[in-house]
Structures are given as C-alpha cells and as structure tokens.
C-alpha cells in the first residue's frame, strides 16, 4: 500500500474506521524497508517482530476506541535515542551491542501515544557529521540519487521518510542535523527551541546545542509529531516548563500580515544558483501570500561556524569520556593495564571524525587555551543570540536557505572536514541562538535534487514557523514530489 500522499491524521481516520489495520500498515512499511533499504541503508536495526506485536496491540486498542495521537502509526527513531530492549548503537562500534535499560523520554512519549516503532535509523557516529557517511553501520544513501549523501547527521531519519519506509521519524539537531538532511531529502524537518523537548535518554553529543526534532512528509505531520514529543521533563534540567500549544490548531491561519526577515548575511555571493533561484521564488510566494518581506542583519553570522565547532567539540570531548570500556559497550583489553584498556577501547571503538572532535574539544578546554577558545566562543555565542533576539523585535520570522548546496556526492568531502563543517553555515546559528528552525522543500535543482527552505522562529514560537511552512506547502507543489526509487 502507498501512504506517501496521506497525512497522519488521514491514516488515523482509516485505522479508526477499520478500512486499514495497523498490522497491514506496519507490514507495508516493513515490506518497503525490505525493498529499498539495501540501496539506502537508512536503518541500523529493523525490529520486525516487536513492531508487528506492537501493531497488533494497537489494532486492539483502536477497536476499543483508543484515541492516542499515533496509535498504530509506524515510525522510527534515530539510533541516538535510548530504547528499552532495542539496541542503541549511536552509529558507533563502541556501542555496537549496547541495549539500554530505559526508554528516552521522547520514545516513551511516542509509545504512550500508541506509535509502532519499527526500528532505529542510521546516522553519523554520535551525531558528528553532515553527510551520514561517518557511521559504523555504513554510509546512508539519498533516495533521490543513491550516489549522493542524504545529509547528516540524521540522514537515516530523513531518507526513511523520503523513501516512504515509515510515516515519520525523530532525529536530533545539534548544528543542523535534522534540517539539513530534511532539505537534502525533500522532507520536512524541525529543530525546536532548546528546552522545548526533553533530552533525557538522548545520547549526548553537545549538550548545550542538542535538541530532538521530528522529520515528516508534510508540515501537518511534523506539527503533530512535535506536539507528541514536546514538553517539560523533570528529568532534564534544561527542559523548559512552558505550556505546549496545540500545533495543529492554528496551522492554517496563513501568513498575511506577517513580517518575514531576510538576513542579508545568508544571501551571500557564491550561493549555489539553483538554491538562490528556489529561495527567491519562495520569497515571492510568501509576498503573494500577503507577508511583508524585509531585509535584516545578523552581524555575527560569520563567526557562527567557528563558534559552533569549538563549543560542540569541547562538550563532546567530555560527553564521550564515559565510553571507557568499564561499564558497558565495547571493551578491548590485552592486559596493558588500565590506561591500555582505555586506549585500546577508544581507539578501536571510535571512528575518525569522533576522534578528531574529541581531540579538538580536549584541546579547546585545556589549561592555557580555555580562555582563547572555549570562553571566547561562549562570548561570541551570546552575541549571536543577541543578534537573533534583536531581529525578532523587528520581524516575526526569518527566511533563509538551509544548505549552501544540494546533496553532494558520497565521498566528495570526506577528506576535507573543514569544507564539510562550512556546509553547516546556515543552520548552526539557530542552535547557538537556542531558537527554532524548520526546513521544508521549496524546489529542485537542475539535477533534480531537492532544495530546502529554512524558516526561523522566535524562541518557543514553533507554531509560527509551522504556520508559515503550511501556507507555503499549500501554495506550492514541491512537497508532492517524491523520489523514484
């Protein structure tokens, strides 16, 4: 069966009316995964048995009149989320056979709403990457062109939705890891405001930047998924106790009268011409929909990438210290004592990019360098945040490209990490500012690759950007395009 053109709400209707069962739907997803995933490698773990059992339970609940927001809907989560009884590898050899004794808060929320979890999605190891090439489980491929990357680090989360393997997924976004792959795969991905969604049970990469975000085939599904996972969690001290609105309620209100800012620093010379054209067309669409378009400035944009990588790597170097072979995960010990065990375990367990970031982060925090690197980066971060807060005094939301180029070829940038880091230029400032951003399809390149549009909202104003995205989606047909796979 085909569910690409149905929203979650429409599927729920079919499930509740009995036209379709969750078992049938789940079987269809599993079949689709089987048919496509040898080409995509979007999944690290598919849990067919558990998924079918959960679907059968969901069917019983549906028959009994269950009203869970996701009852019977097949979803999948990035392999960074701790899941009880399903292994959580984080794309790393060091956690190859790790099974968590608890569910991440967001996974528990999915289950509470009746979602059927069909598996765990591939990703850059420990979410470190922009291409999903850095995975112990192998490279993820873009459903639009399997010679190309799907973006990263939540490449599996975006590819699985684009390929119709599942209805919706969860990813994480530390510097663009939901938005950039959503852009490269032609789907909708949202990074909520820092503190909007609990990080409890999400394997940490850079704690002050990590945020959980949904990926879906359309804006409405994305809004619904956000509503399921958002909210204060007493187990996460950085989650914010601020009411969660009904994201579906005002979704169709349109953008007439809204002020949309175009930060001039994001429309630089050298922007890929296809992207420039697609984004300019999107601006024109918004103008026609009644929005007021104004140019604004985010003056510290140039420092974003350097600032981001210093902070993220510093935090990562500390967050990844726990993978030491002592309590869980991989242990390599050939009798060279404690230090030997640490060295062998971490040498064998971590991939190159992870090692690179741990080393750079350790350096940035070292005595004598801390002030020049980490502390300076934190100060710049404050300036960047102030840039955004100041701009949001003038406009309701911002519109920018998501990535400077469409999906690049697998292997094209692996030997040029700096170039790879620079590809995050339009997404990292939003994480540094701690606000929310969304990526939605706004065109295709000359080569037929999806191009994404980024909408950036005020802190905790996810509803605003979802509304604006919905209006665009209704006014154009980019979202209806699906890859031929």
């Amino acid at each position: 069966m085909k569910f690409h053109d149905l929203t979650i709400q429409e599927i729920r209707q079919k499930l509740r009316s009995g036209v379709l069962t969750s078992v049938e739907l789940t079987q269809a997803c599993l079949a689709r995964i089987k048919a496509t995933d040898d080409r995509l490698n979007a999944f690290i773990t598919v849990c067919e048995e558990e998924a079918l059992a959960a679907a059968a339970v969901a069917d019983q609940q549906l028959a009994a009149g269950d009203t869970g927001l996701l009852t019977g809907i097949p979803v999948a989560v990035k392999d960074i989320f701790n899941t009880l009884d399903i292994r959580t590898t984080c794309g790393s050899k060091i956690l190859a056979n790790y099974v968590s004794p608890y569910d991440a808060t967001v996974v528990a929320k999915l289950r509470q709403q009746g979602a059927v979890i069909v598996g765990k999605l591939n990703m850059d190891e420990f979410a470190m990457g922009s291409s999903s090439e850095n995975s112990a489980a192998g490279v993820v491929r873009n459903p639009w062109d399997t010679e190309r990357v799907p973006g990263g680090s939540s490449g599996g989360s975006a590819a699985a939705v684009a390929a119709g393997q599942v209805v919706a997924t969860l990813g994480t976004d530390t510097g663009g890891s939901v938005r950039q792959p959503a852009s490269h795969c032609g789907v909708v991905g949202l990074k909520p405001t820092y503190g909007r969604v609990s990080r409890y049970g999400v394997v940490a990469y850079a704690s002050s930047l990590d945020q959980v975000g949904p990926v879906a085939g359309n804006v409405e599904d994305c809004a619904l998924m956000l509503g399921v996972v958002a909210g204060y969690d007493p187990a996460d001290s950085t989650s914010v106790d601020c009411p969660v609105p009904d994201y579906l309620e005002n979704l169709k209100d349109g953008v007439a009268g809204k002020k949309i800012g175009l930060p001039k620093e994001y429309f630089i010379a050298g922007l890929d011409p296809d992207i420039k054209r697609a984004v300019e067309a999107a601006i024109e669409t918004y103008r026609q929909l009644g929005a007021e378009i104004v140019e604004v400035s985010l003056p510290h944009t140039d420092y974003s990438v350097a600032c981001y990588y210093l902070i993220a790597m510093a935090e990562a170097s500390s967050n990844l210290a726990r993978y030491d072979g002592v309590r869980f995960g991989l242990r390599k010990d050939i009798g060279k004592g404690l230090t030997g065990m640490y060295q062998q375990t971490r040498t064998a367990g971590f991939g190159d990019e992870v090692k690179r970031r741990i080393m750079l982060g350790t350096y940035a925090l070292s005595s004598g360098y801390y002030d020049a690197y980490y502390l300076k980066a934190q100060k710049v971060r404050t300036l960047i945040r102030h840039d955004f807060l100041a701009v949001f005094e003038q406009v309701d939301l911002l519109l920018t490209p998501v990535a400077p180029t469409p999906a690049f070829k697998i292997g094209e940038m692996v030997n040029d990490p700096l170039q790879m880091y620079l590809s995050d230029i339009f997404t990292v400032p939003i994480n540094l500012a701690g606000t929310c951003g969304l990526s939605l399809p706004c065109g295709l390149s000359a080569g037929g690759l999806p191009i994404g549009l980024q909408l950036i909202g005020k802190p905790f104003a996810e509803a605003d950007i979802l509304q604006a995205a919905y209006a665009f989606e209704q006014a154009t047909d980019w979202n209806a395009r699906v890859p031929k796979l």
Binding site: T238, R327, S367
Partner: protein, 479 residues
Amino acid sequence: MNSRYEVVIGLEVHVQLTTKTKIFCGCSTGFGQSPNSQTCPVCLGLPGALPVLNRQVVDDAIKAGLATNCQIAPDSIFARKNYFYPDLPKGYQISQFELPICEHGWLDIETEGSGKKRLGITRIHMEEDAGKLLHNEDNSSSVDLNRACTPLLEVVSEPDMRSSEEAIAYLKQLHQIVVYLGICDGNLEEGSFRCDANVSIRPWGQKELGTRSELKNLNSFRYIKQAIEYEVERQIDVIDAGEKVVQETRLFDPDAGVSRSMRGKEEAHDYRYFPDPDLLPLQVSADWVEQVRSSLPELSAAKLQRYQDEMGLPVYDAGVISADRQLAEYFEALVEQYNQPKICSNWVMGEVLGALKEKNLTIDQCPVSPELLAGILQRIDDNTISGKIAKTVFEEIWQNGKTADQVIEEKGLKQVTDTGEIEAIVAAVIAANPGQVAEYRAGKEKLMGFFVGQVMQASKGKANPGMANALLKKKLTEM
C-alpha cells in the same frame, strides 16, 4: 615552633552529606548495601542520562556557609572536572569551580600556642562523590558505584594555619559545626569527613609562600597531626640539605608514620573544567537564604557564650556541654525542668557522663531522661532526699526507668526530718560512744564528723544531715 621556618597550612575538607538521596538522582545514599544495588542510569553514567540537582544538598550547603560566616552566592555554577578513572562513571565529576555557592567565610579558633585566631575559609562548594574500587585477589578490580553521585561539600580554607595544633583546632571546630548542623555524621574512619592538607614552610619574614605538598589519606585527627608534623620535618630536611621542595601529592601511611610521593606536578591532571551544560546556573534567592538561616540550630560557639553569660556556668562546664549538640540538648531540657544550671551541669558532667562512659553509651541512649533527672534534683531541693541518696536513686532509675518519687517510695529512701526521731538516734549514738563524747567535750571538735557519720549510719542515710548536725551539737554541749 621552629626557630628558622614558619609553617603554612591550608586544609581542604570533604564533608559527606547525610541526605536521603544522591545529589543528582533519586538513588538512596544508604551505607553498606550490596555493590551497585543503589544505582540508576544517572549515577551509572549511562548514555543519555542527565543530572537533576537535589534541593536538600543546596539547603545543606547554605547551612554550612552560614555557620562558617560565608557569603552565599546568588548565582553559582556547576562545572565538570574531567579525568578518567574506573570509579568515575561519566569520565567527569560534577563539581563547582569558578562560581561556588559559598565564599569568604571564617572560623575563630583558640589554641594554647597562639590563643584566639580567625582563620579564613576561601570557599565551600557542592560536588558528587566517586564510586569505590575493590581490588580482587586475581589482580583484577571491581567497581562499586553505590557511593557514586552521593553529595559532598568541599570546604577550602585559606593558608592561614601556622601549626598542626591550629590545623587540628580548625578541623575540630568545622567537624563540630557540620555535625551540629545535622548535615554530616562526622565519621572520619568511614570517610564522612575527609581532609587533605596543603603544607609548606618558609623562612620567617618571607612573604611568598614556599612550595607546597598536598597530603592525602588523613582519616583521623591524630593522623592529620602526625602527617603535618612529619611533612614539616621532611621539608626542613630537604631545604637544609640544599635541595628544593617539589610540588607534589603525598599519601600518608599511618602504620609507618610517613608519607610517600603519589604524583608530582608534571603528572598533575589538567581537569579541563567547564560549566556543565546539563545543569542550569543555580540561583539562590535572598528568601531562600533567610529560610535556611531561620532553620539553623544554635551552634556550639553561641551556646558556649550563652551558658556563661545567661546561666552563669564556668567556662569549663560550658565548654564540655556545648561541644556535643545532643549533650547540650539534654542539658537544656534538664534546665528547662530544673532551673539551676550549675547543679544541672554538675549532674550532667558527673553522674550522667560517668555512667554513659562506664556503659559505653552515647547521650541519646541515656536511660535517665532529662525529665527523670529533674525529678531527682527537685527531691533534693525539697529535702525529701539527700544528695547522697540521690545518687542511689539515679542508679535505680538507670536500671528500671521509674520516676524519682516511685523509687524513693518503693525503697523507703525518704529523708528523716522528724526532730523526735533524729533526737532518739542522736541520744543512742551519744550513749553508745562515751569515750568519744569525753574527747569531744575536752575540745576535740573534729569528732563532730564521726558523730554525724554514726547518726547517718544508724538512720541508713536517711537522717537529714543538717538536722543531725544541729541536734548533736546541742546535746553534746548541753551535757
């Protein structure tokens, strides 16, 4: 005191708090459970787990800060101290670094060597403890993480102490405070109160501090004194031999009475402290501080003063009683019932402490409650029993927990105050001892004691000694 060198000592004390649950998770802090039974994803450092601060720990830190005259920071920050060790599950310890919760405090001490002196407290910060390593016979090690993530306060002094005597006085005072506050059980041997000492020497008159060594593994006041004195001698020997003291960490071996180098400056860790992004900056409002302040018990120094000023106790009595919070509470409950503080302190320091010591009990285990003891003292006051009989009554109550009145009644211990009855005994005593009577009348007045003793004996101690004395005098002079 050395004639050539001045000794400089600073102390770092780790105070293990007695909160029910750990500092960043809900696991129990109970002692002596089976290994790793009191753990959860947070204190095991499992992937994805996050810390949540225990509010009670903040309350306790504020208490300690207020009791040591610190300023309580309205904003303080938790930081990660990064290093690898198997007992440290996350590979970092959550501590406080740049902005601790308490700063700029002091304690007043008094020693024989240097009299009264004020010692600075640099800071007090909150942190989590590490787990424990158990070394097995086969040369492997096991990790027990029950202690991981239990709450500690680290109290850092200024390098203000100039002798081991001052260091011990400071430690004892700090120990008394945290036990008084009820935030620590004060057990040195079990590691609830752990001390590291930074020791250096410098020629008298030199301003700059000498190179210090840090002494670890000091788990009794005696060892701390020994270790400091050994270290001072060692440093003097090093300098006298024309060498330089090197900055290092030294481990004290109490059996050998010596310390050994553990690691030098080069091997010192670069802990790469940075603010923990998983915890928000801690904000402590003035209201919060006041709330804690109003819950503080009266501390020993204040009691010491009050016992002297308001109750008129001698400094010695006030010192003994105020040193232990529970003893002081016993004493105060007693005074509440029987408002003669000096008599109360005599009984508490004499009979009560004596009996406790003999039976190896602590004051909270004392079978004679302040109420029961007050009952005895009241019966002395109204002449029902003599002070001597009172001690018998005390022993009886210790055994059976009855009231003074019950014991006096049952044992027939009521003092004889009937003049006729005592007169009869006096007459019998005089009749029975003609020789002594003659001597007394010849001027040997010292014999009065003998006659009183005879009367008391004949009355089985129940005759009122004052009345016996008066009647004897009267009869003997009348004759």
